[in-house]
Amino acid sequence: MASAKSADVLRAKRDSKILTVIIYTIVIAFALACVIPFLLMLTGSFMVEDDIRRYGYQLIPKRLSLYAYQVLFIFPQRIISGYAVTVVVTVTGTIVHLIICSLCAYPLSLKSVKYRGIFQVFILITMVLNGGMVSWYYVCTRMLGLRNTILSMILPLLVSPFNVFLIRGYYMSLPEEMAESATIDGAGQFRIFWRIIIPLSQPVLAAVALFISITYWNDWYNSLMLNDLPQYFSLQLILHTIVSQVQFLRSNSYAAGMRELVENLPGEGVKLATAMITVGPIILIYPFIQKYFVKGIMIGAVKG
């Protein structure tokens, strides 16, 4: 390790300085470009509406105001119910997704399960062929009756074939002897699965949990397709509704001569504040768990 590091330093010294500077500049610029929009959004949500209009967005605002957040919380029911929906969906969805996928992956990983191939093909087909948006929508609304239920946001994402195969790959890398000796001791398959396989598979399960919880948190496709009633709107869909309403008014105000009215909408600040509330949890925990994201992607890329 130490020698590798000194070799790095040596190499860095020998190469031309200009190139090093260029490389560092590009990387840092790109990294900043990925983060600054979120910072601008954060400060923008605390700016005075008038200042936004006059000076544009600033990293360090001249005047601070909580106006946007106050407007947002005049009617807190909407935001609170959105948060409740999103949290419930994310938590239950993540737990059930983990249980179902890790259960399904276990027999797929065992050679002693003779017909595992059939199930593997059954799962693989869903990765390749899908019924498309229209018949999916028809099945969800007409046959399963998911319209305007909280289940409509949980059920469609419960199984991810990719995650199943990912977990299976990890199981297959575990030593077989452990499960065998447990069998000899008289343990049933569920017991082996729960007591031996699951504790040994924590890295891959953590990665899957991380990614699926983000997926649930960010998902608004299912919510948009299947829900009309505001009490079932997830946080993301509420944000989208606010955004498209303001945008709609803006883009149609020129002809209708409503310019004056639209100008006075507390538009931008409120949008930014809602967006901040929506991404808040992700941005807040991201610095602490970022290395797990990188690790998780790597586990997925190496795959089984």
Binding site: R53, P107, L124, T126, L239, S244
Partner: protein
């Protein structure tokens, strides 16, 4: 398990099922491993409901759809290809297909190029801490929902007080109506896509680069290879297998777009449809806004079947190239 228990109790030991003649059939296998097969059930039920039922629903495309009777009760359309005729009379579908293909091609090319470049540059950074921080910063947009991203895309491009227009105004230039001119978005959309997704691909490429045998670089260094030469003659050639397989997998999904990406950023803004209306948004609009099951169903059918064919073909190539890299 059965054997072990029988031994423990001693005495009577029945002939194991597996040694009895004719008892090795399908039913026996299921019975013997019943708890293992039971573990398949939850996943298979979910997949059946949300993936297999819609497949049966594809027959919708040949039906004269009547909402009251449902897909399976509706009579067959006469002629059976009537719904496709109806679809192809609509100019929107051709625009949607070409936009899907053009936009996705741009996304694949630029995203691959950007993430390879970023991976190589990150690998050249020798401050480990800076490298790790920079990498997780570039990964952040990947985990942010498309709605939130659409909010600040709007902050950047809106006509009245967007960042770009404010800048133009401060230079004394005319402001540009970004949201009313379609062709700008041919450029803007790929930029947003690359910004959002390149961090993810970078992780994969960087992992491949770190996996390269270090002695190769050392040998090259002894031979006097400069940094650029090391990149061109060692890193890039060794990245090619990964590039090919990742690109093939991306091309396999070339007919599918991230619906929420377009719908959040462009929405129902018809002024931008010339470059930003793709198959998924076309289908969505006809289905949810116009309630037209037959036309959107036909478009959806074509998308499903064609993308299945393309995906299988791409996967076959990927498999031929590298057996481990293929999806299946």
């Amino acid at each position: 398990m059965a054997d072990g228990r029988a031994l423990k109790h001693g005495g009577f030991q029945p002939v194991p099922w597996s040694r009895r003649k004719g008892a090795q059939g399908v039913a026996y296998e299921f019975w013997k491993n019943k708890s293992l097969y039971a573990m398949f059930i939850p996943a298979c039920v979910v997949l059946f409901l949300f993936n297999y039922l819609p497949l049966f629903g594809l027959t919708l495309v040949f039906k004269k759809f009547d909402f009251g009777k449902g897909i399976f009760g509706s009579p067959i359309q006469t002629p059976w290809y009537g719904n496709f005729e109806f679809l192809f009379k609509n100019d929107g579908v051709f625009r949607a297909v070409s936009n899907t293909l053009i936009n996705n091609s741009l996304f694949i090319v630029f995203n691959t190029a950007a993430s390879i470049l970023l991976a190589i540059l990150l690998n050249e950074i020798f401050h480990r801490r800076l490298k790790a921080i920079a990498q997780s910063m570039t990964l952040l947009p990947y985990f942010i929902s498309t709605v939130v991203i659409s909010v600040f895309i709007y902050q950047i491009f809106n006509t009245d007080n967007g960042m770009i227009n404010s800048m133009l105004r401060s230079f004394g230039m005319e402001r540009v109506s970004w949201y009313e001119t379609a062709w700008y978005w041919r450029v803007i959309l790929p930029i947003i896509y690359v910004w959002k997704n390149s961090g993810y691909m970078t992780v994969i490429y960087l992992a491949t680069i770190t996996g390269i045998d270090g002695t190769l670089f050392e040998a090259a260094e002894i031979d006097g290879a400069k940094r650029i030469q090391r990149i061109c003659y060692i890193t890039l050639p060794l990245l090619i297998p990964t590039i090919i397989t990742m690109s093939l997998l991306a091309v396999g999904r070339i007919l599918n777009s991230d619906f929420t990406f377009y719908y959040a950023i462009v929405g129902d803004n018809a002024l931008l449809f010339n470059t930003a209306d793709v198959l998924d948004t076309f289908i969505f609009r006809n289905l949810r806004r116009l309630g037209d099951f037959t036309m959107s169903g036909a478009a959806s059918f074509i998308q499903s079947i064609l993308s299945c064919v393309i995906l299988v073909a791409c996967n076959m190539f990927a498999r031929r190239y590298d057996k481990n890299a293929a999806l299946f």
